[in-house]
Symmetry: C2
Subunit: 339 residues, 2 copies
DNA sequence: TACGGATGTGTGAACGTGCACACAGTAGGA
DNA sequence: TCCTACTGTGTGCACGTTCACACATCCGTA
């Protein structure tokens, strides 16, 4: 079976022939240079006439530049379907890249088959750089990027193995600490946490911040450990906390979805919020405002995270070396009704 | 300021030199052909030694094939942040393309600036085809794809202007009719609808199905028209229905999120579900199972939609001409507790 | 011996682009 | 008059790959 030939498209040669000039002159019209007014007019007419569109593949080959940056999502299953922020991060990155006239291409790595193919894609000259979003810190693709020394930026914690790649994220420890302190200043004394995803840095750090805020008041018993950042986990986690200590008067949920689940469990148990129990969440996602009462939570600047990561890549493409330390964006507390 | 040269990477020439053979032989090892065992061994050793990665841009230029397919999301703002299915559709498409060893690259069109850049990208040889997901049926990018005669497939309704491009979707009219009939067989007689997004085909069709199911029972007054498929719209829409007729005993919500909002409004009004009022949704998203009671709804086979769209593109890449009529995937009713 | 097929290898051209270079004409100043 | 600077144009090459073709060797058979 012979593959169908994609239809022949006009090239600079065709334009040159149509306008009665040479390829070089056409190139100068497209890319700037000395061209006479007549030649320019003839060429521009020819371009629209033959419907010319430049061939990116050829340009990328010659220029070693594709004007494209990959947005690589590792473990999309958990990220795309659970994480309320991933969409906003993408849009933020796209907006920033768009302003710099770069194309964002989003790649998804789900299987080992994907890993290999994406690695090939990244190394093949189709993209000039990469933004990597990963749920966990270790992934084979990260080594590939590191080996290729492809200009890159991480969203979230960078992998231990390559500290030379810059990253952008939020201060999970500090934010968790701040929101827990809000519960304390509200007079809560028996405070529990529904901690999720303790196999990820975000989960670990939020727990660490909680512990730091409570200091001597911290009680291991008052931490319910659930696997995911989702609603169901919140219901289960809150029931567990109530079972362990019915005098609980404050709860820090590791995400808004969890907080929403906690509200449901508290309603079941006949507790009022914020009267009997103060509840705070994390993310400032759409969950926060659709709950009854609306959630006091930590705002994640998702759009800014995306655009910041894009800037980190663009800066490297301009030849600058960003300090590898990474960048933590501010996470303002959003005070609503739940605590 | 001079642009930094991306570091020089090994090419087939380097491998040939290292292995003491010619470029042609290297190419044959990579792409198949008669090669002696010694030559093959030497070349494979050389490949790993110099860390060769093939240059996709050069390959795409020569082969006129990039082995990549674009996943274009028009109006990502509403889709990414509102639509619970878009992530699953993407993953479904990615899985199908992955099996055919094609790379899915997701592009996002948000501004007019994006439109132009993505059009260039699509026409530049970086992708062999495109899957287009659009909230609305009209968009400038569609004309571009049509003009380029790029192998493509639409998710949802195809634009009127080009019926030659195949599409995949669900039968919104039939599904809405079926779920409304479920309310009728449950004995409900005063049935309202919270209709959303009446500027899109999906919204229009769901309303049409509702009307068809009710027949003479249909009452214009019992349709609350809300702008979006979201929770807040559901709350508002349900309040409106209750105000118009307190005897309402059944509600078809145009999405699960809306249904969730409706449940909240009914709780406010002291109505029990499904006792006083039966509520059904649409999508079978995560909303459906996190509601109290869990929603009876229409299952959208999002993953299958994605993989089906991918197949439509892949088939064209193989030179087949899929019937342009389009494909509607089955949408089973999921019976839970809300009606 | 001569021939044809199967197996193995090297060479040249082409994909479409951008850039370095060569070249030509004009104008102005030493 | 010659040299330089500026504007404008054409040609050749390179980017890294694949493929068609030419050539070379070996074996079995007419």
């Amino acid at each position: 079976m012979s593959r169908p030939q994609p239809q022949k498209r006009a090239t600079v040669h065709d334009i040159a022939a149509a306008a009665g000039v040479s390829r070089g002159t056409v190139s100068r019209v497209l890319n700037g240079g000395y061209v006479s007014a007549e030649a320019r007019a003839a060429i521009e007419a020819a371009i629209t006439e033959v419907g010319y569109v430049p061939n990116n593949a050829a340009r990328a080959l010659k220029m070693r530049r594709s004007q494209a940056v990959a947005f690589v999502t590792l473990e999309p299953h958990s990220l795309f379907l659970d994480d309320p922020n991933i969409g906003s991060i993408m849009l933020g990155a796209n907006a920033a890249l768009s302003l710099a006239d770069h194309q964002m291409v989003s790649l998804v790595v789900e299987s080992s088959r994907d890993t290999e193919r994406v690695a090939r894609y990244l190394s093949g000259g189709f993209v000039d750089g990469a933004i990597v979003v990963s749920a966990r810190t270790q992934d084979p693709i990260i080594k590939v990027i590191s080996d290729l020394s492809l200009p890159a930026a991480f969203v979230g914690h960078p992998p231990e193995l390559d500290r030379t790649i810059p990253f952008v994220g939020i201060d999970n420890v500090g934010s968790a600490r701040a929101i827990t302190e809000h519960l304390l200043t509200g007079g809560r004394r028996r405070i529990g946490m529904i901690a999720a995803a303790l196999d990820r840095d975000s989960g670990i750090d939020r727990l660490a911040g909680f512990r730091a805020a409570l200091g001597p008041l911290f009680d291991e018993e008052m931490v319910a450990d659930v696997p995911h950042y989702d609603y169901g986990s919140g219901v289960k986690g809150m029931r567990e906390l109530l079972e362990r200590d019915r005098s609980v008067d404050g709860v820090f949920a590791a995400s808004d979805a969890i907080a929403a689940g906690a509200l449901e469990a508290l309603r079941e148990a006949g507790r009022s919020v914020p009267g009997d129990v103060g509840v705070v969440g994390f993310d400032d996602s759409t969950w926060a405002v659709r709950c009854q009462p609306q959630l006091t939570t930590v705002h994640q600047p998702a759009k800014e995270i995306g655009s910041c990561a894009a800037q980190l890549v663009l800066r490297q493409l301009r030849g600058e070396h960003p300090d590898p330390g990474g960048q933590l964006l501010p996470t303002p507390l959003v005070l609503r009704d739940s605590a």
